[in-house]
């Protein structure tokens, strides 16, 4: 098992949670369009794929989804769009120490390893709650002997991580997640770029957005130790949407597209 850099890249998307079944999800198509729009005439071979876990999660979260549907049914809820409310509700109600969450993590890990076994360089794009699953699974893979030898990218099942509207800066997620897994000695760096809109309330937990200056989300995980082996950057974007709508507006953002282009081509 080794990554073959001559093979087409695979951009693997993991979504946030929302109502509807897995068939309703198409974020990988949006990412495909976004990346194609940034490539211009550059002949880059790539595919996009989506890890779906909604059907699995629906069973565990049915009571919360009933509640969310009730909220959506009232005039305030209707003004906000059901998708945004679904995502936010599920961020807070999702339990990451349950058997369902463990199945989701295992499924995502299996999907990554399937791409790895085929030799395709894999890049993960994770939205909302999906970014927490991605964080957990990638760090878990790094802790395994068989993968992520720092000096050999061919042993890396994931070449880079992009997170969109991640709630990882909220205490409910970061209080227990204190650090990323260090890759050890070497000079190859694993890249994690976190995009956020300042008015996205899922990122900051604030009703009316967060100031850009001095606000660290993913960058809280940076370490001065050269053994960490991660490049971690927070990148603010202006999605053109505000508040809850900003949380679901990353998929066609040119800044995100340029960042993804940069990651998969370098």
């Amino acid at each position: 098992m080794a990554v073959d850099p001559t093979k087409p890249r695979t951009v693997l998307v993991i979504h946030g949670v929302q109502t509807g079944d897995g068939a309703d999800l198409n974020q990988h198509q949006l990412i495909k369009q976004l990346l194609e729009s940034r490539l211009g005439n550059m002949p880059l071979k790539f595919t996009t794929d989506l890890f779906r876990y909604e059907d699995l999660n629906d069973q565990a979260q049915s009571k919360y989804q009933k509640l969310i549907k009730l909220i959506v049914a009232n005039p305030v809820g209707q003004a906000l769009t059901s998708t945004a409310i679904d995502l936010i509700g599920d961020v807070v109600t999702a339990r990451l120490d349950t058997s369902t969450a463990a199945k989701i993590r295992q499924g995502f890990k299996d999907k990554i390893l399937e791409i790895f076994d085929a030799g395709n360089p894999c890049y993960v794009v994770a939205h909302s709650l999906g970014s927490i699953y991605a964080f957990d699974v990638i760090n878990d893979l790094m802790s395994e002997e068989a993968f992520f030898e720092r000096q050999s990218r061919r042993t890396w099942p994931v070449q880079g991580l992009i997170t969109l509207g991640s709630p990882i800066g909220l205490s409910m997620f970061n209080k227990g997640r204190k650090r990323v897994h260090a890759l050890g000695e070497g000079d190859k760096m694993f890249r994690w770029v976190n995009y956020w809109d300042r008015t996205d309330p899922v990122v900051s937990g604030k009703m009316f957005g967060q100031n850009l200056t001095g606000y660290e989300i993913a960058e809280k995980y940076r370490s001065p130790s050269p053994k960490q082996g991660w490049v971690i950057r927070d990148r603010p974007v202006d999605t053109g949407k505000v508040w809850l709508l900003a949380h679901v507006a990353y998929w066609d953002n040119p800044t995100v597209g340029d960042g993804l282009f940069d990651m998969v081509t370098n």
Partner: protein, 162 residues
């Protein structure tokens, strides 16, 4: 008049700061005393009781005082991700996040409130009860994000010295 105002100001500003710092220290000391641990790290295996089965059957209570300023006292279950040190009390958080430390006989109650904003944060309540070498650790954690909140309660039973 001016000295009186100055003294009043100092009293008002320094007293709360002193008391909240003490509360965090009290919480840390109370946990150590409750478990009677002298080592920097202690771990106890246990089982969940009266807890939804989705959290699994086993639990592990860990007290880690190995890194000054980054101590923690947490519970992990069979399905807790490897990247997480679990749910519980984090002593790397600011002093004023500790809101209750109440020790009475064989019972210890701790509360910590981590705020991201006025509408978002987590509130963790822990009740530890010891009887005949058996400790029941109850953790009730409420997470809030904007319009939503969710509470989970778990009970982990461990055997001291077991």
């Amino acid at each position: 008049m001016i000295p009186f105002v100055l003294i009043s100001f100092l009293l008002l500003t320094t007293m709360p700061a002193y008391s909240v710092a003490t509360l965090k220290q009290q919480a840390s000391a109370a946990v150590k005393k409750f478990f009677q641990v002298t080592e920097p790290v202690a771990e106890f295996q246990g089982r969940y009781v009266d807890t939804p089965p989705e959290y699994g059957e086993t639990c592990r209570v860990r007290l880690d005082f190995s890194e000054p300023g980054k101590e923690y006292f947490t519970i992990r279950g069979a399905y807790t991700p490897s990247t997480s040190i679990g749910d519980g009390m984090y002593f790397d958080a600011p002093d004023d996040t500790f809101v209750t430390v109440n020790s009475e006989g064989d019972t210890l109650i701790l509360e910590q409130r981590l705020r991201d904003s006025f509408s978002t944060g987590t509130h963790t309540y822990m009740r530890l009860h010891k009887q005949s070498g058996v400790v029941t650790v109850t953790i009730k954690e409420t997470s809030r994000l904007l319009l939503f909140s969710s509470t989970q309660t778990k009970h982990c039973v461990i055997l001291l010295g077991g």
